[in-house]
Symmetry: C2
Subunit: 266 residues, 2 copies
């Protein structure tokens, strides 16, 4: 359990420093209790469409911060460098994945606007605190994510399907999981669906579109939450000339505490 | 009490129709239980700054909908016409108030983007339902609003102070008011301050910057919430060439129910 447990005890700045130094790993379970964010950076002339897409699709795309053009910093993590402090990045051209890198500095541009978007890892701390098991953490895997048949509300040139993350939850704890996450609307909120993958157009839970397949235990029910990878699906569908994103599951670890995003528990 | 009670029983479409027909009144207390919104419409080349300003200042400026350029409709109220269905509008040029009108159709432009922003009237239903008196409604007045000494986080060309609305709350009910409104983050959430107007730079509660002065009853404490008039203060400070807003207290009445914006009570 060393691989999973020690990173969980790091503070955010040390976690970011280890990624900057070249450590590669999905960030699930790292720096427990601190908010992780999805990254999407686009050129200034696409920033309004991205920001509006997020406003119109708040459940998959809750915006926690937006940088000024060219500025690789964020108020969520003073001292962090958005170009280097995530473990893995994706470079996109015209909607196609051109490269996966561990340092995006040489791809950075002076007109890039970086969006930090809430992540379902934020509610995992709250789930675990109430005794709900996290199968992907137990199994040492990235969370499983799927493209669904639900279309987001378009915004300008941006359109695309909603992506969800899935967690196998023991049936008697599903109501608790719904209650806990409904109190965290800034990090995807309540599930979008419980039970039937087919209702979301997912043919095979064993073949996620992003992340790793995760094994169910007896009595588990698949529960689906809106996912911050949704903007990447919109990039693929909408083909802006250039974008940098995190690699799915490889997030920015911020200095904010997850419980800051729990309504009524601040 | 006729003036206050009958409008409260109207459904949203009938309330909007009466404003379209020329009725003039602040909308506080109208169509009880339905969400009211602040309006700010700017030309497309200012829309990113407004949307980003709202993202960076979510407590005063929670965005509930954004229209496409030139489109005077909103998903919040199908069939509504944003140019005519509010009781009173303000027309702005270069940060100066040029006109107040009851129909903004002749000022509308094909490149205007309309922002519908959450309003504290939405939590008044919830306060009243738990027995907390609303002094301005009892007194048949508009709510009192004040410009504060707190600066919003700037966004592009937009900057300005936070505006607050104030309600006199019986001291023994202040904790309830905090709890209830903290559950409604999409409509300003918990108070930004309780008790001392001077802490917000407000010299005289009897002289609000917007709305009407409201009389305190013995034992009342002034409680201050972030206010959706904040974008108007930003217009005055930042001077975009053209904007249309609602007149303070004269809101759009939408078809959404206030309780849709109460976390965990959907």
């Amino acid at each position: 359990m060393t691989i999973v447990d020690e990173p969980g005890m790091l503070d955010p700045a040390r976690a970011r420093a280890s990624f900057r130094a070249g450590v590669q790993a999905p960030t699930t379970g790292w720096a427990a209790g601190y908010t992780q964010t999805n990254l999407i950076a686009v050129r200034k002339n696409w920033a309004y469409d991205v920001l509006l897409f997020c406003q119109r699709n708040e459940q998959p795309c809750p915006v926690l911060d937006v940088s000024d053009p060219g500025d690789p910093s964020t108020v969520l993590a003073p001292g962090a460098d958005l170009r280097r402090d995530l473990p893995r990045y994706r470079i996109w051209e015209n909607g196609r994945l051109r490269a996966e890198v561990t340092d995006a500095t040489r791809y950075w541009r002076s007109d890039l606007v970086a969006f930090s978007i809430g992540c379902s890892f934020s509610f995992e701390t709250a789930l675990a605190a109430e005794g709900i098991p996290l199968r992907h953490v137990e199994q040492g895997r990235n969370v499983a994510m799927y493209v669904t048949n639900r279309q987001c509300r378009p915004a300008g040139r941006l359109h695309g399907p909603m992506v969800v993350s899935m967690r196998q939850i023991p049936e008697h704890q599903v109501d608790d999981a719904i209650r806990i996450t409904s109190e965290m609307p800034a990090v995807h909120g309540a599930p979008v669906h419980v039970g039937d993958p087919g209702a979301l157009g997912i043919a095979d839970l064993g073949k996620p579109d992003f992340g790793d397949p995760v094994r169910a235990e007896p009595g588990d029910v698949p529960v689906f939450w809106a996912c911050g990878v949704t903007p990447q699906a919109a990039l693929m569908a909408s083909k802006p000339p250039f974008a940098i994103t995190h690699a799915p599951g490889h997030m920015l670890i911020t200095d904010r505490r997850d419980d800051e995003y729990r309504v009524g528990r601040r």
